[in-house]
């Protein structure tokens, strides 16, 4: 028994219907080594808890400033409180004092048992639908010890487990944790080494290698491609995706995830600048056009989820 492992989870989404088969609950683990321009879960990037502030819900009552032990909140009546994020330790005192829930600490510490227990709340739905649980992030492999314990526990409980990953991890560790999963949802963010590095901050080669090892091991994989207009949706990139995927011995299903700008609001709440302001989500017609390129090559392709 390894005692004392805990993990940081920034969200649990129930009735997740786009994260693997059936009805699922998805746990989002905090921390991610990538730095994707289009990231729609910016609150998941930092491996530590972060403070989120929803201005629209703030009453300007000042309870937060009074509660802050660091003196990190400036407040004058009639205006919104200003948080000095340099001094904020995300201790949560302001969130506890906030009457409206406008201030919230993103990132809750769980033991593996605690997390699995919470995910098990929806077990009847999993069983009726052939669903289960999905670990996502952030990058779930960024908390490998915690993830390992969770995967083992989940399997013991007889749950179907999916791992939603960028594939950017140390190969041995990656394979070990992938083997503990029933299905890997694998993000393939670009096919161009140069651009991949530029837009995500990490190289593509190790990701391709880890993917290869999944195929060799016979671990079921669903490929997920975020479609970011003007970045990875050019004809050459699409051709590269199709060529690569259609040559695989067992062709994995492909999910094209249209870029969306719902993340924008989250950036505001965290006080972090969004880098893709003004980028429009691709149209339905455009997504269908892209999907046709995949299905023509004999690939099973889905739009969304």
């Amino acid at each position: 028994m390894k005692g004392g492992i805990t993990g940081l989870v920034f969200d649990i989404k129930r009735y997740a219907i786009h994260d693997g088969p059936g009805i699922r609950s998805t746990a989002f683990l905090k921390g991610c080594p990538l730095d994707c321009l289009w990231c729609h879960n910016p609150e998941g990037k930092d491996p530590r808890p972060v403070l989120s502030f929803v201005e629209a819900r703030c009453l300007s009552c000042g309870a937060c400033a009074a509660a802050c032990p660091e003196g990190a909140i400036d407040f004058s009546p009639g205006s919104f409180p200003k948080t000095n994020r340099e001094r904020c330790t995300a201790c949560g005192a302001c969130a506890a004092a906030c009457p409206t829930g406008a201030r919230e600490i993103i990132g809750r510490r769980y033991t593996p048992q605690g997390l699995i227990e919470e995910l098990l709340q929806d077990r009847p739905f999993f069983e009726a639908s052939g669903g289960g649980i999905t670990f996502s992030g952030g990058e779930p492999l960024a908390q490998p010890e915690f993830l390992r314990e969770c995967l083992i526990l989940a399997r013991k409980k007889g749950l179907h487990v999916a791992l939603d990953t960028s594939g950017y991890a140390e190969p041995r560790l990656f394979l070990e944790l992938a083997r503990l999963s029933h299905l890997v949802l694998y993000d393939l963010k670009d096919m161009d080494e140069e651009r991949h590095r530029k837009n995500t901050g990490v190289p593509l080669a190790p990701i391709m290698k880890n993917l290869q090892s999944l195929f060799e091991e016979g671990i079921p994989v669903w490929i997920r491609i975020p479609v970011i207009p003007g970045m990875n949706d050019g004809p050459e990139t699409i051709r590269a995706y199709v060529d690569f995927l259609s040559r695989l011995p067992t062709k994995p299903p492909v999910f094209l995830l249209p870029y969306h700008d719902i993340g924008k609001e989250k950036y505001r709440r965290l006080g972090v600048p969004s880098r893709l302001d003004g980028l429009k989500p691709p149209s339905r017609a455009r997504m269908e056009e892209l999907a046709r390129a995949f299905s023509k090559a004999g690939l099973e392709v889905h739009i969304g989820g």
Binding site: K13, Y15, I17, L59, Q121, P124, A128, S129, H260
Partner: protein, 786 residues
């Protein structure tokens, strides 16, 4: 849709509901002449006969199924013997902005000259109010409960398979047998039974007469019609109406027309709640359908056209207009006909068949306000049917609602029905469970659960009507524990249930003695065998329901008190009471704290859900099993229709942070916006209630259309529903429409006239709803998926 159906549908939708004084005139003339000459059942039967003989017969252009309650489509009769509209009532109906009923000048005149002078002080409602005690009136005016039967007769029932296997001659035979068995020597009630049975016989003949008058009219029309095709149709109509409902139907067409005459009879005799309803229509019609298709007498297209014509007939019958409190409870043209599909057969097999799909298709294509159609989902119901229903739900007009057929059976068994009677039962009205064709399951009134808490927090005093209407259970500032508060609430609850039940005895007694329903009694077992009227306890099973409203608001309020006052010490009882008495004036911070930092129902959080169970069980204990004077016992169910709006308007601020006069939570749904963990958490929470102890619960869920966009989404959605039913849920219904669309519709009603949404146990045109109700629907949590 065929051209004929298109035309009939458009005509039905375009017709403005208009008051017809025809029935009022016939009934008033008859009563003036005959009141006091006959025992009540015979008087009622003769009045019904008079209507059947004198009412205008309407056969519309292109119609295949015939018969209207009034002199034409959407011409709505009144029932002055029950409640006599005053001239100002009629004026309100004629001019109100929403759900208007046009009142022609001659109706005003007739009412002024003949109807009102005769019925004032004589109508059942007038006498009812003169008999009800002051304690009842005080609680009623405070908005603790409503009374269903002040303007409408009990009704609340549905038909079973015998309507498709028997004709009225068969029923007459049964009546004659029962008459022959009367024991005038030893049975002190023999003369009453005799009168009741004679009345039933008169009523049966009256309906046969009405059908034959339609046959004659069709023949006369045929003679004047030059189009040979229409002439043949009219002759066919004549032939059908000569055969049914006198005899058992022989084919699909006769089965539909036969039922329609029964329906007309029930809703003409009295204005009973929820009109009437053919029960498991797919099961009842299937043998006729199969036989006609196999013999080549009917094609599936013809069957669909007949069904469509039948469907439109329901839409032609808007609810009889109400006024005052009852209008606020359900301000709608919808009369709550609720046709059941799927479910189980009486011997426990899957009840669905080809017609289940065809009827679903008809309901989808016509998407009319009425009739409602629901799917009874049992463990045997094929996924293909459930998913077909989900595809209709996706379109966003709020139906079909989905019911757990296995739970409905369990509820009925718990109430003491036989297994066969339970399986032939189902759901009528909104979500009410009943043994079709064999039970009078009468809703007696909504009950305002949070208002009882308000009275408790004020030590028996109602701040709005400024009267002491409850018990003095103590000043809550002196309560040392939450349990003390809870038991004070429970004592108040029992007190008001007692008041309600004592009032019900008076109301039910009046109906039993003076307003029997001999026609309805023919077709509900065992009224004939017992020689007893439906309204007097003649049915095989008799249930009186009291419907709890606002369990979400109550739970969150209890949770706020328990946690903030007694466990965490965040606030004192004194502060809370002070804030409530001033409607949180100047205390927005406190209100936000209560709203946002309280464990709330609908999040799969036992701290709140446990309180819901505790309150629910207390309500159950207060009502369950109490005897009703007409026979049978009381049970509870949990549905609001639109009463959560009215109850909200009479309830001050509540400890959950709800402002005064705002809507309560509806059905068993969480408070609007309080559920923040998605649909599975809502389902888990509401399933913690023991649905088997109710006669129906109502859960509303709102999904954004994008959650249901793909086929895979439909499959998962269907699984979500199945899981709710596995967990023991009774019913769920969905609005699949975005808040943005609804706000748009508020701004530009003209462009959204046809937008149907789910309100409570029924759909309604969004633009016909009161602004408050529109806002309430928009405020319901919308489940999204990313």
């Amino acid at each position: 849709m065929t051209e004929r159906v298109k035309r009939l549908r458009e005509a039905s939708m375009a017709a403005q509901p208009t008051i017809s004084a025809e029935r009022a005139k016939i009934v008033t003339d008859f009563y003036r002449e005959n009141l006091g000459k006959y025992p009540p059942p015979i008087l009622r039967a003769l009045a019904f006969k008079e209507i059947c003989e004198k009412k205008e017969i309407y056969i519309g252009e292109g119609e295949l199924i015939v018969g209207e309650r009034g002199p034409g489509p959407k011409l709505v009769p009144t029932y002055p013997e029950l409640t006599c509209h005053s001239l100002s009532d009629l004026e309100i109906l004629n001019t109100r902005e929403k759900t208007r009923y046009r009142v022609p000048e001659e109706a005003f005149e007739l009412y002024e000259r003949e109807i009102i002078p005769f019925w004032r002080g004589r109508s059942l409602r007038d006498r009812m109010f003169s008999l009800l005690p002051q304690e009842w009136k005080d609680a009623y005016e405070a908005g603790i409960f409503t009374e269903f039967m002040e303007q409408r007769a009990p009704g609340h029932t549905a038909g079973d398979g015998k309507l498709f296997r028997m004709g009225l001659f068969d029923f007459k035979k049964k009546i004659a047998d029962s008459l022959a068995r009367l024991d005038f020597e030893r049975d002190p009630e023999a003369y009453e039974k005799q009168a009741e049975l004679i009345a039933m016989d008169i009523a049966a003949d009256a309906l046969i007469t009405l059908a034959r008058r339609h046959a004659q009219a069709a023949r006369a029309l045929a003679e004047r019609t030059s189009d040979p095709k229409r002439r043949a149709e009219l002759l066919k109509i004549a032939e059908v109406c000569e055969w049914v409902p006198a005899h058992a139907p022989r084919n699909f067409w006769e089965a539909l027309q036969g039922y329609w005459f029964y329906h007309l009879a029930v809703i003409t005799e009295l204005n009973g709640w929820d009109a009437f309803n053919p029960g498991h229509l797919d099961q009842h019609l299937f043998p006729f359908y199969k036989k006609d298709i196999e013999s080549g007498a009917l094609t599936p297209e013809e069957a669909k056209e007949l069904l469509s014509c039948f469907w439109i007939k329901f839409n032609n019958q808007p609810a009889p207009p109400k006024v005052g409190v009852t209008a606020a409870e359900s301000g709608t043209y919808n009369d709550f006909v609720n046709i059941n599909l799927g479910g189980l057969t009486p011997d426990g097999k899957d009840g669905s068949n080809e017609l289940s799909y065809l009827i679903l298709e008809v309901a989808d294509e016509l998407h009319l306000l009425q009739p409602q159609v629901n799917l009874q989902v049992s463990r045997l119901t094929p996924d293909s049917l459930l998913e077909a229903a989900c595809r209709v739900i996706r379109k966003g007009y709020g139906y079909p609602p989905l019911f757990n057929a296995d739970m409905v059976v369990q509820e009925l068994l718990r109430q003491g029905k036989t297994i066969e009677d339970a399986r032939e039962g189902g759901t009528s009205g909104c979500v009410e469970t009943g043994a079709f064709g064999k039970e009078a399951y009468i809703l007696s009134g909504y009950f305002n659960l949070p208002k009882v808490l308000e009275i408790t927090l004020n030590n028996g005093w109602d701040p709005r009507t400024k009267k002491r209407i409850g018990l003095e259970t103590g000043d809550p500032r002196d309560f040392e524990s939450f349990d003390e508060l809870f038991s004070a609430w429970e004592r108040q609850l029992r007190h008001f249930i007692d008041v309600k039940i004592r009032g019900n005895a008076i109301v039910q007694g009046l109906y039993a003695a003076e307003m029997p329903a001999p026609f309805l009694s023919i077709i509900i077992d065992d009224c004939i065998e017992k020689g007893k009227d439906y309204n007097a306890g003649g049915a095989r099973y008799n249930t009186t329901y009291i419907q709890g409203v606002g369990i979400g608001t109550l739970t969150d309020s209890l949770s706020a008190i328990k946690h903030h006052v007694y466990e965490w010490g965040t606030i004192t009882m004194d502060e809370l009471l002070e804030a409530l008495s001033t409607d949180f004036e100047g205390r927005e911070t406190l209100r936000q704290l209560l709203l946002n930092k309280t464990p709330r129902y609908g999040n799969d959080d036992d701290r709140a859900d446990g309180l819901m169970r505790r309150a629910f069980e207390a309500f159950f204990r207060a009502v369950e099993g109490r005897p009703a004077p007409r026979g049978g016992v009381y049970h509870i169910n949990m549905l609001p229709t639109t009463c959560h709006i009215y109850f909200g308007q009479v309830t001050g601020a509540t400890p959950d942070g709800r402002l005064a006069w705002q809507p309560l939570s509806e059905g068993i749904s969480p408070v609007q916006g309080a559920d923040r963990n998605g649909p599975t958490a809502v389902i888990k929470s509401v399933a913690k209630m023991d649905h088997a102890k109710t006669g129906g619960t109502l859960l509303n869920m709102k999904f954004s259309p994008q959650v249901l966009s793909g086929e895979e989404d439909i499959r998962k959605f269907a699984r979500l529903v199945r899981t709710y039913f596995t967990l023991g849920g009774h019913h769920v219904q969905f609005n699949v429409v975005s808040a943005r669309t609804l706000r748009e519709a508020q701004k530009n009603p003209e462009e959204y006239r046809g937008l149907l949404v789910r309100v409570a146990g029924y759909s309604d045109y969004f633009c016909d709803l009161s602004r408050k109700l529109q806002d309430e629907i928009i405020a319901r949590t919308e489940h999204e998926a990313l």
